[in-house]
């Protein structure tokens, strides 16, 4: 029943094939994290919190920090997640997030290093799915980008004495903190093949009709950093090409308003009226 409309670039809810649903973003929603953001996309809602902790750098890359991802599929999101139902999806999602975000092209991991080989910042990115209504990847990626933007890492400096003993010292001013450069952090665009067309931001219904979908992570310059196919059906090379082109276009268009919005919110500072979870 969708198919005829799709041919004319018209979807059941009135959107075009490359249109997102209404998206709401709010940052700094969880006070005891170092950075957080809540994103709702249609009825999909995700919450991302970033906690910075001091850890030991990986031996292979001693001068870099790293990110850790954990996706919690709360049973609030959908009854399917009850018990251990969400575990599999959670692992699948976090594996993809590692691929997309934990590399030095996305984030300047070197800036997370405190003392090469000894101390670095580890960013624990915790994703909580509050409600599922399709297109989790896109919503999560936007939320992560916003949360990383919001992340304030306390400034530390290493003092060393004559004997070479090193000591981490913490600034006593809570406002004295480091911000991350998130310019190159990509966003994920999921394209679902429905019939002969492909759509972005598929609702659950649309997804049910889709044979396969392509997950593409795109930077603000339109560079594709990662791509993955999910779903049981097959895609022919031509449509893959078409879909990547569309993904680039949509992804690039997604970054600019996102950044603008985030900066606008930041500039409000303490005067901003918080919406939170009850708003």
């Amino acid at each position: 029943m969708f198919l005829p409309g799709l041919q004319d670039d018209l979807r059941v809810d009135g959107r075009g094939c490359e249109d997102y649903r209404h998206m709401e973003i709010e940052t700094d929603v969880v006070s005891n994290t170092d950075g957080s953001a809540k994103v709702t996309l249609g009825h999909t809602a995700v919450l991302v919190g970033v906690k910075a902790e001091i850890g030991k750098p990986r031996p292979t890359v001693p001068a870099e920090g790293y990110l850790e991802f954990f996706v919690d599929c709360s049973a609030n999101a959908t009854p399917e997640f009850e018990g251990r139902g969400g575990e599999e999806l959670g692992t699948k999602l976090s594996n993809t997030l590692y691929k997309v975000f934990n590399n030095k092209r996305s984030i300047d991991l070197k800036s997370l290093c405190i003392c090469a080989g000894e101390h670095c910042w580890v960013l624990y990115v915790d994703v909580l799915l509050l409600q599922c209504d399709g297109n989790l990847y896109d919503a999560i990626s936007v939320a992560i980008k916003a949360a990383l933007f919001n992340t304030k890492i306390p400034k530390v400096h290493i003092s060393s004495d004559e004997e070479g003993g090193k000591e981490i010292e913490l600034s006593d001013d809570p406002y004295d903190c480091m911000r991350l450069n998130i310019e190159n952090v990509p966003c994920i665009v999921t394209l679902c093949k429905v019939g002969h067309r492909h759509v972005v931001d598929a609702t659950l219904q649309e997804k049910a009709c889709s044979v396969a979908s392509l997950i593409i992570s795109v930077t603000h310059k339109g560079t594709i950093t990662c791509m993955r196919k999910v779903g049981g059906g097959s895609l022919d090379p031509e449509s893959i090409f078409e879909m990547t082109e569309a993904g680039k276009r949509v992804g690039k268009a997604l970054h600019a308003p996102l950044m603008k919005l985030l900066e606008q919110e930041e500039s409000l500072g303490k005067k901003r009226q918080k919406v939170g979870f009850l708003g």
Binding site: A52, E53, S159, E162, E163, L170, D173, Y175
Partner: protein
């Protein structure tokens, strides 16, 4: 309204944690002022006509001190003149954070109704809460919070201006920047000194002002006398890398230019670092926690054997250098000890010190030196205009600071205790100096006492064994009103003996956690001074309800053994009981009954049985290697009217003394075993560590001087060789050696069994020991009673009893109080001895030399139990030609005429 406070802190593992606290703001925090009609407060603290007559503020006003004013000028705030003060929560929190003692004093002032101190919770008030701004330090934020609160107050009070005569709020701060900002905000602000000086009615209050830093500069020349202290961060890194050592500074009693720093090592053992010379001591004061740096081995020195007292007047820098010269002796390599210098102070442990004022020779001078009663504390320079009134009085002085260009620390006068030499004053001094809590019990504490008339209830009887029919009696020193132990002994049908030790059941009256319990735990022990007793528990308990007096029913905790005639214990049991003592005897009375063959009543038979067993027990104990040591104890005969000592005698020991003692030891050991079996982790025990061999040096040397050998390999060897050490024609020699041996010993201490592995009691040669028998006068016994009661199911437990860390902390306090009470007791005896001599002329008495120093000898006069230093080169006498022999400090009889000056000297101080 909800706000959240966020801050980051470092965790112990080196991580960084963000902490978020919810902070609620309220609109129902009232201002506490009488004039206010807006606030719906039930009672007001601040008066309408807040009158402190000041030439600066002619209108009624409330004072708001900032944190530093409270911290440094708490003595001023305590003065009754200062009232109607608003203490902001910001200030209170900062004070609490920075100094616990000042916080406690401030809390006490706030509780005092007449002082009219009001705490305003500005941090939770909707209009006065402020958030820290970017780039603002925590201190700046607090200063701003104080200013905002003052601003709020002045605006708040302005609305009622019509009813008041221009009531205002005055901020007191010593910080120039803060003052400036406050003035810019249109607030009334003064420096604390300005304000205090402006008080019309009380010029003497100025003396109590602590000297602030800009005052100090003018006092001394610019000559820098001491090296700079290192900042704390440098010290910490230094300690971590072990280039510095952290330890407690202990000044020497005999030599003001020498001190040791006790460095706590791994586990039990600690090391001592010797510090010599003013420069190296570097302004450390007794009991400070300091960082020391070891000197190179070539500069190590031996502890000097000179007795030096700081006698100089205000300007004696040259003298000091000269005296320092005396210290340097070409000591043998072996005698040298690790020597170091103080590089920084980690924590000052200053308290107000008692002492006397040395009035400056210059008449108009307002700066005078103060000599503390404790010889280990340096002299303190204070500023006062009442020098003439204060001379001859005992006064208290607090140290404010010790700048690096000043020979003496600067301080200020706190209060006067009364005329020197007066009994009450001196008693107060020695209680304060030894940190003995001696205030009357507070109402809160007294409220937990049982209501009088008190009687044993049927419920009590149900739970207890009725031992009233037994012939129980108590034996104590004459005049004892806090009887905490009683004994009985009877023959059983099977021929064995049943012996019971009955201890006052204090834990029945003092329930865990209430104010009475806390007070007792803090006091730790009853302190016995000559003619005065500072009770640990209120008198109703100590002398009445808990005291096992004769012919009244009393609650007891009994330890009952079945013993055969060879004094072997066959059975032990513990029970809560009710007893009725048939007689309370003195040692002498008991002795008389035992010796009087005509007496054959129950009590006497009882006593004889006990005495017989005690003798066997004592023999067994000595065979195991228990030590019999000796120390001189003096008893005074007091004049019943004036309470002045009229005669004194050394204590006599009778057989009955040791009879009671034997059974107390037995009970203590039995209880120790029982509570340890039951609670291996949290039993409160008492141990007496074996002293390190080097402690015995003075004893061995002293014995050698009379060609007597002392073996110190084990307690048994020591006991045997002490028994054998006798010199013909010198009967007192053995006692002297025993006195010296006592000084070689370590302190016995309380500890929690879960925190330690060495339980041995060296002096008693017992593998385990505790204190059970004197709960009226020792808090440790109360805890042991509670543990035992839980062990036999007679009482319920509570969390703190089973917490080994809390118990360990309690033990530390008990050990400290116990030590201090002993010192106080000795000081009291010494004072009474001096009072005794005040009324006598010159006496000739036999004395013995205990130690020989390079320029003095330390003499003991057994008849008076008096020990004193005799200098060879007193000011008015030419020093006799003496050759000092380091190796063999002899024991000899000094010419009698040197005695008097020694005593005189002590009297004068």
């Amino acid at each position: 309204m909800l706000k959240s406070k966020t801050f980051v802190k470092k965790t112990r593992s080196g991580g960084v944690m963000k902490v978020v606290r919810e902070h609620y703001l309220r609109d129902d925090i009232w201002c506490g002022s009488e004039v206010c009609t807006e606030c719906k407060q039930e009672s007001t603290v601040l008066q309408k006509d807040a009158c402190m007559e000041s030439s600066l503020c002619s209108y009624p006003h409330y004072l708001v001190p900032d944190t530093n004013v409270v911290l440094h000028q708490i003595d001023i705030l305590e003065d009754p003149v200062i009232c109607n003060v608003i203490i902001l929560q910001t200030v209170l929190q900062e004070v609490r954070h920075r100094s616990a003692p000042v916080y406690k004093r401030l809390k006490d002032i706030i509780h005092e109704k007449e002082k009219r101190f009001y705490t305003f919770t500005n941090e939770h008030h909707r209009d006065t809460f402020i958030e820290r701004e970017p780039g603002e330090s925590a201190n700046d934020r607090n200063d701003r919070a104080i200013r905002v609160a003052v601003k709020w107050y002045s605006q708040h009070l302005k609305t009622f201006e019509s009813d008041t005569d221009g009531l205002k709020v005055v901020l007191l701060t010593n910080d120039q920047g803060n003052k400036q900002k406050a003035q810019d905000n249109g607030l009334l602000v003064y420096k604390c000194e300005e304000y205090v000086k402006s008080l019309i009615a009380n010029p003497e209050l100025v003396d109590r002002l602590a000297l602030s830093s800009d005052d100090k500069n003018e006092i001394t020349s610019s000559k820098v006398l001491f090296p700079e202290h290192l900042p704390l961060s440098r010290i910490q890194t230094g300690i971590k890398s072990s280039s510095f050592l952290q330890g407690t500074f202990r000044a020497s009693r005999d030599n003001y230019l020498e001190a040791t720093v006790f460095v706590q090592g791994e586990g039990e053992d600690g090391t001592e670092v010797l510090i010599q010379g003013l420069q190296n001591l570097n302004r450390a004061v007794h009991q400070d926690v300091v960082a020391v740096q070891l000197l190179p081995r070539s500069e190590w020195v031996a502890p000097s054997s000179v007795v030096l007292q700081d006698e100089g007047t205000a300007k004696d820098d040259e003298d000091a250098e000269e005296e320092e010269g005396k210290l340097r002796t070409a000591a043998a390599e072996a005698a040298r000890k690790p020597t170091g210098k103080v590089v920084g102070i980690i924590k000052r442990n200053w308290r107000p010190f008692c002492g006397m004022l040395n009035v400056s020779q210059i008449k108009e001078s307002t700066r005078h030196l103060f000599t503390p009663a404790d010889r280990r504390i340096p002299r303190i320079r204070i500023e006062t205009r009442q020098a003439s009134t204060l001379s001859g009085q005992r006064i208290m002085v607090a140290i404010d600071g010790w700048p690096k260009d000043s020979r003496y620390p600067n301080g200020h006068f706190v209060r006067s205790l009364g005329g020197a030499g007066e009994k009450d004053t001196e008693e107060e001094v020695l209680l304060l100096e030894h940190d003995v809590p001696h205030q009357a019990f507070s109402q809160a504490v007294l409220s937990f006492l049982p209501k009088m008339p008190w009687a044993i209830t049927p419920e009590d009887m149900m739970k207890r064994e009725d031992l009233r029919p037994l012939t129980v009696c108590s034996v104590d020193p004459p005049g004892c009103t806090d009887i905490d132990d009683a004994l009985h002994c009877r023959e059983l049908e099977n021929g064995n003996l049943e012996v019971g030790v009955h201890i006052a059941d204090v834990s029945h009256f003092i329930r865990p956690g209430n104010a009475l319990d806390k007070e007792a735990a803090n006091r730790g022990t009853t302190v016995y001074l000559c003619g005065k007793r500072i009770d640990m528990v209120p008198e109703l308990l100590s002398s009445n309800l808990c005291s096992l007096r004769s012919n009244v029913d009393r609650l007891a905790f009994s330890c009952i053994w079945e013993i055969n005639h060879k004094a072997e214990i066959l059975k032990t049991r513990f029970t809560k009981s009710v007893i009725n003592s048939k007689a309370s005897l003195t040692y002498a009375e008991a002795q008389m009954r035992i010796d009087d063959t005509n007496k054959n009543d129950d009590i006497t038979k009882n006593l004889r049985g006990l005495n017989k067993l005690a003798k066997i027990l004592k023999r067994q104990r000595i065979e195991k290697g228990a030590l019999t040591l000796s120390s001189l104890e003096v008893r005074f005969h007091m004049d019943s009217e004036t309470h002045d000592p009229i005669d004194l005698q050394t204590k006599e020991l009778m057989e009955t003394n040791s009879m009671v003692e034997e059974f107390m030891l037995l009970a203590n050991i039995s209880v120790a075993q029982k509570i340890y079996d039951e609670f291996s982790e949290c039993a409160l025990l008492r141990k007496h560590p074996a002293p390190p061999p080097s402690n015995y040096d003075i004893l061995i040397k002293a014995a050698k001087s009379k060609e007597v050998e002392i073996h110190t390999d084990s307690a048994k060897a020591l006991a045997d060789s002490l028994d054998a050490a006798k010199v013909d024609g010198f009967p007192y020699f053995n006692t002297l050696l025993r006195i010296l041996a006592t000084r070689c010993m370590m302190q016995a201490v309380y500890f929690c069994s879960g925190m330690d592995s060495d339980f041995h009691h060296y002096g008693l040669a017992s593998p385990i020991y505790t204190h059970f028998t004197s709960p009226i006068r020792r808090y440790a016994d109360i805890i042991v009673h509670r543990l035992l009661a839980v062990a036999i199911g007679a009482d319920t437990t509570y969390p703190d009893l089973m917490d080994k860390h809390k118990q360990s902390a309690l033990c530390n306090n008990l050990n400290y109080r116990h030590k201090m009470s002993q010192y106080a007791q000795r000081a009291s005896v010494a004072f009474h001895t001096q009072l005794f001599f005040k009324s006598r002329g010159i006496l000739n008495e036999e004395g013995f030399v205990l130690f020989v120093r390079k320029n003095a000898i330390i003499v003991l006069i057994p008849k008076f139990g008096l020990e004193g230093t005799v200098f060879f080169d007193s000011k008015d006498k030419v020093s006799p030609n003496i050759v000092f022999e380091e190796e063999i400090p002899g024991v000899s009889v000094p010419p009698p005429d040197t005695e008097r000056p020694a005593k005189k000297q002590k009297l004068d101080r």
